[in-house]
Symmetry: D2
Subunit: 267 residues, 4 copies
């Protein structure tokens, strides 16, 4: 191994300001904490100074009778550490969605519905500080709940929550991606097409095959290309002293992801 | 449906300059084209003016006896349209890797080996124009080949290719993620740990369970937390007149993804 | 290891008469051969005496420039070695079907359609020499083709092929299982119910989710209990010098299996 | 639909004597009952006359405040209704094992270890009344527990339980299949080879990839052909009013199945 010397090549900018921390305790439990206040409350463990946490990133600290280690929260930490009020798109599907919907830095994305805001957070992290996410949510209670999650994940400045049913119209235009996590995606396909830029990606998430079928058949009636539906199965592998094998733990179905690209003509 | 009016909300910045196009023909074949030159060559179809393509995005054009439609290439298009010289991490694993390794806009990432540069392209797109990717490749022929792919995908300015074996040392420091797609990831874990910032993510991609086991056992001997290995299975769903079902097409194994986060102490 | 002595415990009856052999050559190719004639033809390799094969089971023999080893054909060999004229239920689904449809020795089974007779052979082997399989096939060309396969697999005495559409009536009664591998299983559910004994199992194999839905909804309208639909995914694991991993080879969708048990009342 | 007439074709022999019943209650819970006694006890529900159950197969009966329907138990019912004392091979793997190990009617099978006897029951049902299963179990408590299960499933006459470690020797010869569900299958491969008839099948069930590797490498050192390792994934499909989709329920790993056929020479 070569030791670092004076020729190290550092980053050209500051790393992430640890506004949001992921704290793991010695039982393996993980917590998402904002460091905006002076103190943070860790459920079951107690209260700890946020300055102390930030000054000791990666170091073992005592809190009550337990040890914890804090690190800057990753995108996945910032998603999984949120509360939830309803079924939500989880990390395995979010990963595929972000990539296949082409959610790149600086992108302009429209989402519906907001729900608990999990996917909104993932989208907001992926578009970065100069990107923008507009999310439509009919239910005011969900919107309020999601606002708390956006704040905890430190992405509220990049996100705007709109009331109303997205099927009644999307006022945004020139959008890079429209992401539909609503029960009847086919009701919003025409307005999604209008909102998208040419080549922009429509994405719909649906649990059942009937939803997929109706969505895809409706997409085929509009100027879209590259229509594709996938299901993602993520298996965890465990490496024990006793051997290596897939996890015995649950691996249930979540939903199907359908993608399509806006064009002006079709073949 | 509500028609757009004068109250439209547009993007706050320019959309993607279509330097790279994805062209689909009426047989469903897809091609990746750079628009840097005056003309582009589409294999089997012929030559077409890039100005014409850019002026007609989303519109059907004739070339030879076929029709094509061009749109700005998505991240997935920019990956799948590249040539390849060796086994490479494909879209299904890239999607999970980008999300689980926390590759966010502006990130600073180190990768090894470069291979054909497919994953390098995906990393470079995900870090965005202000992010940076350094990729280590021992074989000069691969580095040369990958350079062509980085140029075609229009990300060469964000990427630096270094020669040499990454196990001999990483000169970068304060790195957000180190991604190892090499046969013996365990040889580079110590140098990866040194290069990473606190909370930065190590990721290793390996086809076999023996590689996974040795990698995970080695990671456990270093200050890392959140160690996790997964396998991603992506099933395509087909919606025909005859019915809806998973694809009959191949669904082979590719590899396992192992993730871990750098800390300074362990429990 | 303990050497065998005079205290060996042998079988209480004759083992299987090797009427049907599986022959593997030194390239790993496998052939299904009947030993009823004096000679057998092995495609690409040549002609060999069946007496010689039977006298040398498990032993390497030369044929042309290759070596072969013959062993009594297993149920799976007897299925996979058959010709096919149409899509057919393969070994992975047959295994689950036989167990979940309760196909035990001496059972009385009705099947439709016969197709190439692959599943018929598997059913006939599972019911044994005292069981019985009646299989309905509308197309005379399939029936003729299947007869050849039943003969090659040496189960023709246990099987009766009937012409006509099973939906028009099943003349058998007191049947242990009715197995439907037809495009519209819902058309035959009422006649299947009538043919089954109490507790007998209905099984339908269908490639699409629409077929599954319509079948299950129709079953729910009849006195059946224990309704259950499954999909079987079989992954082959390869163990190379280079490591252990799932196969890179195809793993496509085949179909769904639906099971239900006949009762007289419902809850 | 054609009504049955005087031309019905019945079975050529008696159907299964309902010695073992599967009873389902109106909550969907299922119980396995022997009808050998005059009364049967249904957990939580109460006591019921077995004569009454047998006289009313398929009919709704009241017991306490609940309704139940009894039918002859299927092979799967007879397996899943048993008690268990340890991890055991379940229905999804048993189905594949029975088919791929060639467990046909009248077969002579050796198994180790017996464990709770679940797989023993499945083997005993598949070999039928003229087949035979010998199962080796070192632990007397498991053997005693398994005996109760064999009796409940009504297969005790076809099964012999032997004490001792199978790796120390198998006294049976000319065996159709040897099934190893023990932690170190490689210790018993030589004795398994000796016990098997030519073309007989060795089968090993193991949860980890390390066990699979060591087993397969050891098998390769002996005269076996057709070596193959698979994993079975069974997904349940739910058909609700809301739509059709894979179950959200657990789908964990169980183990890998390795098969090989005894020969005398190898290539």
């Amino acid at each position: 191994m070569v030791r670092k010397s004076g020729t190290e090549v550092g980053r050209h900018r500051e790393g992430p300001a640890p506004e949001v921390l992921s704290v793991m305790d010695d039982r393996g439990r993980q917590y998402l904490l904002s460091t905006r206040g002076n103190v943070a409350q860790i459920p079951e463990l107690g209260v700890i100074s946020t300055a102390k946490l930030r000054a000791n990133l990666g170091r073992k600290l005592s809190i009550g009778s337990r040890s914890v280690i804090a690190i800057p929260a990753s995108p996945r930490d910032r998603m999984e550490g949120l509360g939830r009020k309803a079924q939500t798109v989880g990390p395995k599907d979010a990963a595929s969605l972000l990539f296949n919907a082409g959610i790149a830095p600086d992108a302009f994305v429209v989402e519906a519905g907001t729900g608990s805001g999990w996917l909104t957070v993932a989208l907001a992290i992926a578009v970065g500080p100069r990107g923008r996410v507009v999310t439509y949510e009919e239910r005011e209670d969900f919107a309020t709940f999601a606002r708390g999650n956006l704040s905890l994940a430190d992405v509220e400045k990049r996100v705007e929550i709109r009331g109303g049913d997205i099927a009644h119209g999307i006022i945004e235009v020139d959008v890079d991606a429209v992401v539909l996590d609503i029960p009847e995606p086919w009701t919003a396909l025409q307005v999604a097409w209008e909102a998208l830029r040419i080549g922009g990606t429509l994405c719909a998430f649906s649990p059942t095959t009937e939803q997929v079928r109706r969505t895809v058949e409706s997409i085929r009636g509009l100027p879209f290309l590259g229509i594709r539906t996938i299901e993602i199965i993520e298996r965890e592998i465990v490496i024990h002293e006793g051997g290596t094998r897939p996890s015995f733990a649950p691996l249930g179905h979540t939903g199907y992801l359908t993608f399509a690209r806006k064009v002006l003509d079709t073949f």
